[in-house]
Symmetry: C2
Subunit: 206 residues, 2 copies
Amino acid sequence: MKNMSTNITWHNTTVEKGDYRKKNGHHSGVLWFTGLSGSGKSSIANQLNKLLYEKGVQTYLLDGDNVRHGLNHDLGFNEADRKENIRRIGEVAKLFADSGTIVLTAFISPYQEDRDGVRALLGENEFLEIHVDCPLSACEKRDPKGLYKKARAGEIKGFTGIDAPYESPDKPEAVVKSDQFNVQECAEQILTLLEDKNWIKGKEGA
Amino acid sequence: MKNMSTNITWHNTTVEKGDYRKKNGHHSGVLWFTGLSGSGKSSIANQLNKLLYEKGVQTYLLDGDNVRHGLNHDLGFNEADRKENIRRIGEVAKLFADSGTIVLTAFISPYQEDRDGVRALLGENEFLEIHVDCPLSACEKRDPKGLYKKARAGEIKGFTGIDAPYESPDKPEAVVKSDQFNVQECAEQILTLLEDKNWIKGKEGA
């Protein structure tokens, strides 16, 4: 046996964020979608994810489907747990950004303080706060999951927009008006932003 | 404005695990390194990560450096918190696997029950338990962080291998003997396993 333990060198040779980005050929960071229930966050984020995927970008989408039943299944909906929910999502998003991924998150995340907490975890130009802006009346009219109806009936307490506040972003990097533009259009607006910010390569010749 | 809210279709077009794998050109899943403190888990995982990166594989490494101070900074070292630590790491690893990434984790993770809990989160052939097997005496002799010395002096309580148990894996997919092979050799042994299991492409003509 040619190498015994005494010969082992315990140096760490780590692959770092810059290496992952170089391999993937694009920037990495967090696209944080925030907005009322029913505003279209998840639909727009999914569509954008698809557009990015089709361009060969390394992406991932964190949303209620893959987080609430997994990592955060121990959390409820009281104030402390909602805060912890967003904190953990932010930390996981940071790990994805560190791995060279453009990670999209789609959560109501109604409090500026919580969103600012996530922003503070990331570096400059690694966190884009995207307000999916849709009037409450339009969201309530859509009510795709019947949640507003339950909230109005008092069956759900502390529902954002009904008996709990939604704090619109102070200084979002983008606002998409999902009552005026369809899902594809909203997704394309963000795609253009990513090209403008050099997160991904723009159209050839553009 | 050609699209008003009434025209919006709210279908979700999701990119799924199979799509990400197709894009990346390899399988995805979790390489779960387990072993005593000082056994070489982190060094071997880092070296393997580097080898995979050089092959163009989409990888990421979760270890104490990027998890304990971030996602799990609220956890201590009592039994419940150690269990929760491993659970969260497992859930995050699952998300990375879902994103088409081969994710490596390097944590002592001394309890079979906890490791089995993570295995249960993943699908078949998505979780490889890798025992970095090194005698306690050799780990203690290395003692790269001086932790064994502190544990022997009673300054650290509940230290794995000293006054807390390490449960060797029941049925690990791989065992690397880090007292007999150096870091590079151990990493290459796992690389070969990944080729054999068709997680990644093998050598041409092999």
